[in-house]
């Protein structure tokens, strides 16, 4: 059986089914219980599983993640929610100094099977500090895995894989597409494996690598260009570990590439993908890799966010430039 779900419903559906299967899974964070989360991502869980498994915590990000690390090391599988990824910074020390390092530090004795969920990215007319995409911070840290889904089906499957994963996973949910479309999602638990990209559109002229909320405008740009350029769109889904093989394979076919991300350009994952292409597939290269990204400025208040975020016209422009080199 399937249900026609939005991406955020796929989150709660995934949590629901996984909690039914595994008593060690607990959900914790601000407003996740009775309120069901500010975005309703944990809706219904409190009624179903009670206040010992769906825990409303004090408003304290380092406390939430720090105690979740202790719980995880002690044998539970906590799924802490930070209400917005822009509020993860108070917990940054816990994430990088402890979640990422505990396995190494204890020579494998203790592990942190925690999934830190946070809505990320812009495009919903939110206040300051509510729209950032800082996935590069976490990708840079060995010991963490980083996932950003782009479809309801993937969201549920990736979330379940993340909960089953013995390593800490930073699970960033693109909130712009929380409710913008629906998809058939299977009932019960199923896994979409971590570390595997998905080719969303096959093409032969250029490979465009993207993830999260940028996947849909990228596909739209590809459709718009259909008459002139045959665009392949690869949704990376897991950003760490990165599916290098999928990147190289697609690039070897097309010889041209663009990377689309809403994060600022400098030090973003686009730079890493460009370097991978240089190192692994230089002789296939027909043109410089084009980065179509957010700007190196603080994320603007919402009057200007449409200009900040790459949208289909800017993406199409970038793709044209890469192909016309």
């Amino acid at each position: 059986m399937t249900q026609n779900l939005t991406l955020v419903q796929a989150v709660s559906n995934g949590l629901h089914d996984k909690m039914a299967e595994d008593d060690d899974v607990i959900v914790m964070g601000e407003d996740v219980g009775k309120n069901g989360g500010v975005f309703r991502a944990t809706e219904g869980l409190y009624d179903e599983y009670g206040d010992e498994r769906v825990i409303d915590t004090p408003l304290a990000e380092s406390g939430i993640i720090g105690t979740a690390i202790g719980m995880a090391a002690y044998g539970l599988k906590p799924v802490p929610e930070i209400q917005f990824s822009g509020f993860m910074y108070p917990a940054f020390d816990q994430i990088v100094s402890h979640a990422a390092r505990l396995r190494t530090r204890s020579r494998g004795k203790y592990e942190v099977p925690m999934v830190l969920r946070a809505p990320m990215g812009g495009g919903i007319r939110a206040p300051e500090s509510h729209s950032e995409s800082k996935e590069a911070f976490y990708i840079h840290e060995a010991g963490l895995k980083v996932v950003i889904p782009s479809t309801p089906h993937d969201t549920k499957g990736l979330l379940i894989s993340a909960i089953d994963d013995p390593d800490p996973v930073i699970f960033l949910e693109p909130k712009k597409i929380y409710r913008s479309f629906r998809e058939e999602v299977p009932d019960g638990t199923y896994e979409v494996p971590l570390g595997e990209a998905a080719v969303r559109r096959e093409g032969t002229d250029i490979s465009v690598f993207t993830w999260g909320a940028m996947t849909r405008p990228t596909l739209e740009a590809a459709e718009d260009l259909e008459e002139e350029i045959d665009v392949e769109v690869v949704d990376l889904r897991t950003l760490s570990p990165l599916d290098t093989d999928a990147i190289v394979e697609s690039f070897q076919k097309t010889g041209r590439a663009a990377v689309v991300h809403e994060a600022p350009r400098t030090g973003g994952l686009g730079a890493e993908i460009t370097a991978i292409i240089q190192e692994e597939a230089l002789l296939y290269q027909e043109a410089p890799v084009k980065r179509i990204t957010g700007f190196d400025v603080p994320y603007p208040l919402y009057a200007l966010e449409d200009y900040y975020l790459p949208e289909p016209a800017r993406i199409a422009h970038g793709i044209r430039e890469a192909v016309d080199f």
Binding site: G66, M71, P90, H98, R105, R107, K109
Partner: protein
């Protein structure tokens, strides 16, 4: 009877006087003679270990090391107050407490000699890893205690930190969670008066650190941290309370053990720049080791011959641990790639393979600094 924990947070618990006699009206804790002698032996072992460790660092045989001398009473006696099933979350200075919990001395040496294997904790030891960032281990202990409570276990979790840690957000967040979720956690503050060069008075305007517990809804108690009997008594009661609280009390306790670290913050620090030698001498009058020794001699639990035998025994034990630690080979470089993830990701494996090829091609000598 009212618990020793139910008192004004600035009324300091003391059992053993500075001259090694019982304080007027105090009763000694419920400990067997052998346990008291064992505590003494561990304190002597920790002190000698500490002195040798500092010396090894000075000789270039070990990296930066954080000394503990002066804190043996607080560390050993508090660790003794735990039951077998209880857990201990150290900062980076609890070499003595970790020893009681079963971490061999050579492990502590290895860690500070820069070998990750020092962190390999025996499977059956309820000891968490060293935490270097200040106060960050406090939420871990609360989280583990919380998980244990959710699993309907009956265990206690003690977490150690210094006075400097009480300025950090993680201290307050951890204490707050512990109060709200009533976790079986004992917060043990080694108030050793200095956070590197910043004195206790600059950490907080609170009259005591113990009183901070009031803000989180549970008991805070101040104890003479250089009085092992008082530390044992207070910690023991706090541990018992985590498992069996009265109807109107919460499980956690904040213990402020007032004490002094005789040496530097670490061997990279020079306390003569900011600390007065008179101050050090004043605190040395409170040294927990002669204090307990006198008491045990006066009450006939130890003889001078026993003291001599224990002194020799701990010297041999430390010398053996140093030999063992120093005879460890440098770890294989592959060790740095292990344990980052449960399964080594492909890109890390690629980096390891490339590195191994370079090692084979050029030899280790070319890669190592002399």
């Amino acid at each position: 009877m009212t618990s020793i924990l139910h008192r004004d947070p600035d009324s300091r618990v003391r059992i053993l006087d500075e001259d090694g006699s019982l304080v007027d009206g105090a009763t000694e804790p419920d400990l067997e003679d052998e346990q008291l002698v064992e505590m003494y032996r561990y304190m002597k072992l920790s002190r000698h270990f500490d002195q040798r460790a500092v010396s090894l660092q000075r000789q270039g045989r070990m990296g930066t090391y954080p000394p503990l001398s002066g804190q043996e009473g607080a560390q050993i006696a508090s660790a003794f107050a735990l039951d077998d099933e209880d857990w201990l979350f150290p900062s980076y200075r609890e070499h003595g407490a970790a020893l009681v919990q079963g971490l061999p001395l050579e492990q502590t040496l290895l860690y500070w000699m820069g070998n990750e294997e020092g962190n390999a904790i025996a499977e059956d030891t309820n000891l968490f890893t060293v935490a270097v960032p200040i106060a960050s281990q406090i939420p871990h202990a609360v989280g583990a205690a919380w998980a244990s409570k959710l699993k309907d276990e009956d265990k206690s979790f003690i977490v150690y930190f210094g006075d400097g840690a009480t300025s950090e957000g993680d201290f307050h967040e951890g204490m707050n969670f512990a109060g709200v979720f009533d976790t079986p956690t004992v917060f043990f503050c080694n108030n050793n008066q200095w956070a590197i060069s910043v004195p206790r008075e600059r950490q907080t305007a609170s009259k005591t650190i113990a009183q901070k517990a009031t803000a989180y809804g549970f008991d805070g108690v101040q104890v003479d941290g250089m009085d092992p009997l008082a530390v044992y008594q207070v910690t023991r009661e706090a541990v018992k309370k985590t498992k069996d609280p009265e109807e109107d009390e919460l499980r956690p306790t904040l213990i402020e053990a007032v004490q002094y670290r005789f040496g530097a913050h670490t061997t990279a620090d020079d306390p003569t720049v900011y600390r007065d030698e008179d101050e050090v001498e004043r605190w040395k009058q409170k040294d927990p080791i002669p204090r307990l020794e006198t008491y045990l001699l006066d009450t006939g639990r130890l003889t001078e011959a026993d003291v001599e035998a224990i002194t020799e025994e701990v010297e041999t034990a430390v010398a053996d641990a140093i030999d063992t630690a120093e005879s460890h080979e440098r770890p294989e470089p592959t060790a740095m790639f292990e344990h980052a993830y449960e399964t080594m990701p492909e890109h890390v494996r690629d980096q390891l393979e490339t590195f191994e090829t370079i090692r084979e091609t050029y030899g280790d000598d070319a890669l190592l600094e002399e």
